[in-house]
Symmetry: C2
Subunit: 201 residues, 2 copies
Amino acid sequence: MKFKGVYYICLFFLIGSFETSIGVDDTSKPDPLDGVATARWLVSQNNWGVLSTISIELGGAPFGNVVSFSDGLPDKGCGIPYFYLTTLDPTARNTLKDERASLTLSESPIGSCGKADPENPTCAKLTLTGKLTLVTENTTEAEFAASALFSKHAEMKGNDQNHNILLLSSLFALLRTLILSTIFYLQHLFNEIKNIIATMK
Amino acid sequence: MKFKGVYYICLFFLIGSFETSIGVDDTSKPDPLDGVATARWLVSQNNWGVLSTISIELGGAPFGNVVSFSDGLPDKGCGIPYFYLTTLDPTARNTLKDERASLTLSESPIGSCGKADPENPTCAKLTLTGKLTLVTENTTEAEFAASALFSKHAEMKGNDQNHNILLLSSLFALLRTLILSTIFYLQHLFNEIKNIIATMK
């Protein structure tokens, strides 16, 4: 059985204004006044978000899709989100045509917002924008990304063999395409996000 | 004190393939094989999602933003998500330049996915696309939308008076602009979503 488009893809976000070194302590919430650390914490703590791309089918309209991701082994997040997608899904197809993308995260799913509304700035929000790019297969980065993904999303690893899931949906069973990502983060956007969008506790 | 851009905005999604009548029972999860009912249930049960627009600042790149929304009073969802946004926020500014938008929801925050991965098709996902449009002030729809929003997001109602929130962040305090939405839903897209993206239990 053949599948359309098997790719390793890497999304680079250059987080130019990040002053902390790669590798964050994602076990405790940072000082909310430290936007950079809080952004890294959000990436490390969340295991899913919404990846927005430019839709081919909709003539250039924006298209958001729920995706699982990982930025590293548990408690060892590197700040770089990796995705496991397929070109059977519009998001991956869109990316191969136009690599511009944004990944949007909320603190709400983590459960640390208490009773604050998800739109309340005390409940952190983060939008990362950059380019979604294929990761080269059989490289150290591809190996790291696969390890990062499978450590947080065990179901991904067994997709090919899990016939129960195959029966539930051909989509999930066909998730053979690995879209791996790092981030080229635009500093001016990050500053804007820090000030306007990703208001932290 | 004056605020930039005070608008009532309405996003219309025409959900052409919806066979159920307006008004869903959002207290119990529908049969997962009924994609339409499950989509309505997801809209009704979630109180936040990611609204993606075409970014002005980023030259047409997609930009997703965490937003709170409501489609009606609790247990009386109408299937039409309403938003309370401000043009101090890029999403609203983008919308006034290009009204194309998508709203992306996951079943994961509802808590009914169990241990399933958010990317597992047994954990429902939904992407609605359409046009984000200003709702006319002082109309029945504006009144309904405000009621829908404030019933599920009590913090929104008191923004002007809540000086504690004002102190926490100028952004949330300045949420005076009401973006209210219904959806012009593209049926061919809905069918695609039903088959590929929004795979339900």
